[in-house]
Subunit: 216 residues, 2 copies
Amino acid sequence: MSGGLDSATTLYYAKSKGYDCECLIFDYGQRHKKEVESARKIARFCGAKYQAIKIDLPWKGSALLDSKIPIPKGRSLRRIKSGIPDTYVPARNTIFLSFAASYAEATGTEAIFIGANAVDFSGYPDCRPQYYEAFRKLIRRGTKAGAGKRQIRIFTPLIDKTKAQIIRMGTRLRVPYEYTWSCYSGGSRPCLRCDSCVLRAKGFKEAGLIDPLAKI
Amino acid sequence: MSGGLDSATTLYYAKSKGYDCECLIFDYGQRHKKEVESARKIARFCGAKYQAIKIDLPWKGSALLDSKIPIPKGRSLRRIKSGIPDTYVPARNTIFLSFAASYAEATGTEAIFIGANAVDFSGYPDCRPQYYEAFRKLIRRGTKAGAGKRQIRIFTPLIDKTKAQIIRMGTRLRVPYEYTWSCYSGGSRPCLRCDSCVLRAKGFKEAGLIDPLAKI
């Protein structure tokens, strides 16, 4: 769980389906700690267990990790969707999912939920449905659980939804969007100009709802 | 690189093929630090760069991580090859490879070498060829490198070799086997009774060579 809109909505969705959830919150050297704090707050508010996992990526390779690489700002939606931006973190979801698979196997957990989305997204390759198909196969082949009868299921409930659909769904599920944080920059208020802020604003606008963070 | 026979041989093999290697050494909460020390020693001896990566697996789930789970000892070869033992670490190679893929993508590295072996091995599912096929597909689909022209190649040069063939190959390549450590237990000498010691002894015997660690 990152503390953004998508992962918060996914947590509430899994809970609404009757799952007893534990959130894995990754501290992987992000420029700011705002998202880790948001994730903890949301997990507590939801009444879910959580744990923070520290991940060491000394090679950085992303604007989200390396303050020398500027975060793209003021890009149009068309531009955002046209390629893979500098905010892409090499193999990030593969790392996150491998920890989740390890956790699931060690603890007998039956499913992993991830809020990946391939509609209103930044073009990250590890957010697309075909990537998750490949990960499911990998886990079937590469775990003790997969070799036996007990499969670890991987759910991506938001994968084909627009940001507006996600926000409407989350609003019905009473996700505390006031605690979420989407902006790639830290600070006390969202910058409103990075790709993540642009996609968030589009989502609230199309959903006909007001972003509680817009008030701060 | 773990500091065992297979990863040391793989490093020397990659070097012999002209690769400029950097070793990723994972400190993932093993019961003893012997293998991490061995890995560093071998990397230095080989003249390869290396870095140690700390990995936090608080859920353990393996006899290699949890001192409350006994390490199986005194098992026959048939028994060793018959199932997945308690020394299996949930999703370990998926975690290691995801870090390697992240490193490779962030640094422009062209290939990942891993010393997985599916002949004289402990039945770990993440050592089998079909697991590596699935990982290659995952990386093609889930990275920026895979989406473009530059593919990250994943080599498993030992996958179908017996332990004896690996040792003969490593001996030709002048791998300093005296610096390797295979035993699952720590201590100053190998226990000679865990699965890893049994497979190592079988390899040296079949290769008609003397294990330099047998002298200590």
